[in-house]
């Protein structure tokens, strides 16, 4: 660099004013951070959503922590998180690798793969509700006894139906992430491996997987933390039922607050949700050995 005189150096080192970040920060503090403190505050109050808010000590917390439905909601959330990760992660990884190579028919397939990305969760849920209807849906219509179950009314099956529908909607998104990851792997690695006589499987495990490390962390974090926000889909598909079989934590929070009109207890559930989300994100970052931001900077 040829610039060395004192005055021009000062000109160059003058960064932009922090004020440029202010509008975004204000919005975010007002509608995300302030409510975050608000939900903590409300968890110590009694409020029906309409009347006055009264301080009520720990009673909401006692209610929530002694209520067996809370434990059940945690369990359901954990199950859905676990199973949807187990189902989605390998499928989206393999599809991402598969579609990253662009032969003609793969390109055509990939166009259709991403259609579910466009659908709202409400639309997806309504479509599946019709499709799985025990009287008029796909199974009874085709006369297939295996398919003709009361999928959404059977508390043993319904969880897996929810996992399947979640995968249907979200695998395309994660496929896209992996596709981008694979496209950044230098071609020279594969060429070298081929010269060394490595087969496809060997190339996958020795090059593709290790190179995708940060993609896997990003996708997994989004998948796991995202499963704390599977609200719309489950709300429209099952409403949390039958019984409490699919009543996830966010859904339980909504129903407690806006249907049972106990905003104090719902806020306590909200706080639990935040704590779990933060803990999961931190654990995943530790597992990755680097924090998310640093891994993002890697390629820059």
């Amino acid at each position: 660099m040829s610039i060395s005189t004192g005055s021009s150096r000062r000109v160059l080192e003058k960064g932009p004013s922090g004020w440029l970040a202010a509008p975004a920060l204000v919005f975010f503090l007002l509608f995300a951070i302030l409510p975050l403190l608000g939900v903590l505050f409300l968890s110590f109050t009694k409020w029906d959503g309409l009347g006055e808010i009264k301080l009520d000590g720990l009673s909401s917390w006692t209610t929530v922590l002694t209520d067996p439905v809370t434990g059940n909601a945690l369990l359901v959330t954990a199950k859905i998180m676990f199973f949807s990760f187990i189902v989605q992660a390998p499928i989206s990884l393999l599809l991402g690798v598969f579609t990253s190579a662009s032969q003609k028919y793969r390109a055509a397939l990939a166009v259709l793969y991403f259609v579910p990305l466009l659908l709202s969760s409400a639309a997806v849920a309504i479509a599946y509700k019709a499709l799985l209807d025990p009287n008029f849906g796909l199974g009874p219509g085709l006369g297939l006894p295996f398919l003709a179950q009361d999928w959404l009314g059977n508390s043993d099956l319904v969880l897996f139906v929810v996992v399947f529908v979640i995968a249907w909607q979200f695998v395309p998104f994660h496929t896209l992430i992996y596709q981008g990851g694979v496209r950044q792997i230098p071609a020279s690695l594969y060429e070298a491996a081929q010269i060394d006589g490595a087969g496809r499987m060997q190339q996958f495990f020795a090059i593709t997987l290790p190179q995708l490390k940060y993609t896997i962390i990003t996708s997994s974090t989004l998948m796991v933390v995202g499963s704390l926000a599977y609200f719309d889909l489950v709300f429209v598909l099952t409403g949390g039922g039958p019984g409490y079989a699919t009543r996830l934590l966010p859904l339980h929070m909504y129903l407690t607050g806006f249907k049972a009109n106990d905003m104090g207890a719902a806020s306590a559930l909200g706080v639990i949700l935040v704590v779990i989300g933060l803990a999961l994100a931190l654990i995943l970052q530790r597992l990755g050995g680097k924090n998310r931001n640093a891994s993002q900077l890697e390629g820059a």
Partner: protein, 307 residues
């Protein structure tokens, strides 16, 4: 193997190149043939077609059923096209204020995405180009937003919106949607902006350019793919959003499309073909956009999240 993992990742902005460029030029053209290009990948192909079936069957079912009349729905094979296709279901949906819900969705989406892009872009510019503790703290605050399930904050948001007398207005949906779009927008935009060579900013600075001018004349054109990505991603999120409308609005005049599907389902629960027609109608606008702008959309989203 250890050495392969340490090979430098190519500049991530490459991924922002469109698919088209991909095939024709550059060092990546070889790679498009993909790993293991000597033998066809039968297993991958099989899996690929299998997943296609999983994707297509429900979509096909929805479209076919939406074209059936009630009688046809009850009697015919669910996978067979209707013997007498009818658009009556679509007519019914359109007569039920579909246009108004569509316009509401449009207002909320544009009203959220444009301001969110604007403020996020300025913040990303300040974070990348600026120094100091305030900006570092700001950046960390946004990163925190990525780790927190922000939906947990709906109760205080409901409280604030009610207190501000905004309940049951479209503005009630727009304000929190802007806030929720900011963390991911700033992250993606700042990641892209870091790749803009410093020398460009420095020479503009020496020419006496203000930050405002550098932002719009240099940073914006250089990060256009990221801006498009962020815009599309947020637009999809807001357009399909369900929770805020469910909690913050009430009357039909403020209803948005996803919520209208749900209420329509309640009103016409016996008329499944009509309900599915409303699903098709609500998805159609996005499908049209997808068909027109697919390349840009997919390459943008891929690049945005693979960094």
């Amino acid at each position: 193997m250890a050495s392969t993992t340490q090979l430098p990742v190519p500049p991530a902005r490459r991924a922002a190149l469109s698919d088209k460029q991909d095939h024709k030029h550059g060092p990546r053209s070889k790679r498009t043939k993909g790993p293991g290009r000597f033998r066809p990948n039968y297993l991958g192909g099989l899996g690929g077609w299998l997943w296609l079936a999983v994707i297509i069957v429900p979509i096909y079912y929805v479209v076919v059923t939406s074209l059936k009349n009630q009688a046809g729905f009850f009697t015919s094979n669910p996978m067979m096209p209707p013997s007498e296709p009818t658009l009556d279901n679509y007519k019914l949906v359109l007569e039920n204020d579909f246009a108004m819900y569509f316009v509401n969705s449009l207002i909320v989406t544009v009203g959220s995405v444009v301001p969110a892009l604007f403020v996020s872009f300025m913040a990303a510019y300040a974070i990348v180009r600026g120094k100091g503790r305030f900006l570092a703290w700001t950046n960390n605050t946004f990163l925190l937003g990525l780790a927190i399930p922000l939906h947990a904050t709906i109760i205080p948001i409901y409280w604030m919106i009610t207190k501000a007398h905004l309940y049951d207005t479209l503005l009630a949906l727009i304000l929190p949607s802007i806030a929720f779009a900011i963390p991911i927008s700033v992250l993606i935009l700042s990641n892209f902006m870091r790749d803009v060579p410093n020398e460009l900013f420095e020479s503009m600075r020496l020419d006496g350019c203000s930050d405002w001018a550098m932002m719009w004349r240099l940073a914006l054109p250089m990060t256009r793919p990221a801006v498009v990505t962020v815009g599309i991603y947020n637009a999809l999120g807001v357009w399909n959003g369900f929770l805020f409308p469910l909690i913050l609005t009430q009357s039909p005049s403020t209803r948005v499309l996803p919520l209208s599907l749900w209420t329509f389902q309640g009103e016409f629960s016996v008329n499944i073909p009509a309900v599915l027609a409303s699903v098709v109608l609500a998805t159609l606008p996005l499908l049209v956009i997808y068909v027109v702008a697919r390349r840009q959309l997919l390459s943008g989203l891929t690049a945005g999240f693979s960094k």
